[in-house]
Amino acid sequence: MRRPNGDQLLRLEDAVEWIADALATDPSLVSPATQRSDLKGWDSLGQLILMSALDQDFGIKLTEDEVGSMASVQDILDVLKRHGRLRAS
């Protein structure tokens, strides 16, 4: 997994690659428009791994609402943006 470097902001493509890695998925299959149901690795266990990785790699501790709202890759990118981890495009 490509781990973020300290407080460095992620570029969009790096964030997408990080998401693909967390979900054990080929990065070519992942884009902001990708839905949870499109990815085999984003099952209920994948959701927990994703939450754990957001905490371990970025210190992002999701709120209950954020956990419930993650249904697409764009939702994960929005979480990273809200927590100041995604570079503005």
């Binding site: 209920s44 266990l45 927990l48 791994i49 419930g68």
Partner: protein, 350 residues
Amino acid sequence: MATFSVSGAAVRGIATSVPQARFNNITDTKTLPSDEVRKIVAMAGVVERRVAGDTITSSDLCYAAARSLLQGLDWTPESVDALVMVTQTPDYFMPSSSCILQKRLGLSDRCAAFDVGLGCSGYVYGLWLSGMMLHGGDIKRVLLLHGETPTRYVREDDRAVSLLFGDAGSATAIERSSEPYSPPWHFALHTDGGGYRDLIIDGGAFRDRFSASAADHYVHMNGANVFNFTIKSVPPLIEEVLNLAGRAKEDIDYFVFHQSNRFIIQHLVRTCGLPSDKVPLILDRYGNCGGPSLPLTITEGLRTATGRDPSTLLLLGYGAGLSWGAALLPFARAAVIRHLEYTTPKGDLE
């Protein structure tokens, strides 16, 4: 509302038993890619687990724990008035494991014995039942057994559960207290059957006895739903039992969580503002053993003696059903603690 306070009961000892065979998730897993294994281990926190194999049952593990505990307490088998066996992995649908254990342990035929079919909340329910049984009759000593072999209902290629579970049995000796003052036990118990499909074995019982689907004979877990249930249910549960007991978090010496998953427990510790040094974790060595993970955490996780005697434990069980409960009770330093490895399959009555 199911809240209770029980007085006049004391835990005299706890013994736990695990299979000798170890399974290291990192080095021994052959059914999942190693990178995926590392991610799951990093999240759930289970490095090593004990596995029963095809011959050891929950009653075997409980038998070994109970025999060791009776010896440690110097309790004669005839002095046990009731045996409660909590399990969802019994030897048979019929008869109850408790009856088999009554015979194996040499208990009297005047001993009441029955099974309770609850999962990860089962230890809390078992303590509540045992405490209640000491009132209104001549029952003075109860042996509470709680054993599970979840590795035997897990599909090795189901990544949601295959690296999570371990097997364990336990025995807890509960006695009518003769001390002039013994602090009461407090319980809060809950159920939401609306989530019954979140942890389920579909086939093999009488709803679908001979299911043709092999997968139906193994456990299915919706991890995200179980996570959501846990983070919503446990924080108010802690507050509820503290309020019932008139105690504060600072009064608790150990918060003994069902060892469900390290990420989930750490999330709860953070959300509830609990001191992590008062939350023992044994997941890395034993995995999620279902309800018996609570007594196992007491025997294997409470290494440091606190300044208080008795110490105060807050036990938290939550899982299949959905069912959840908390117990707040004293635990005396004089209580017998035993832990052993189970080595020899003993399927026959002794």
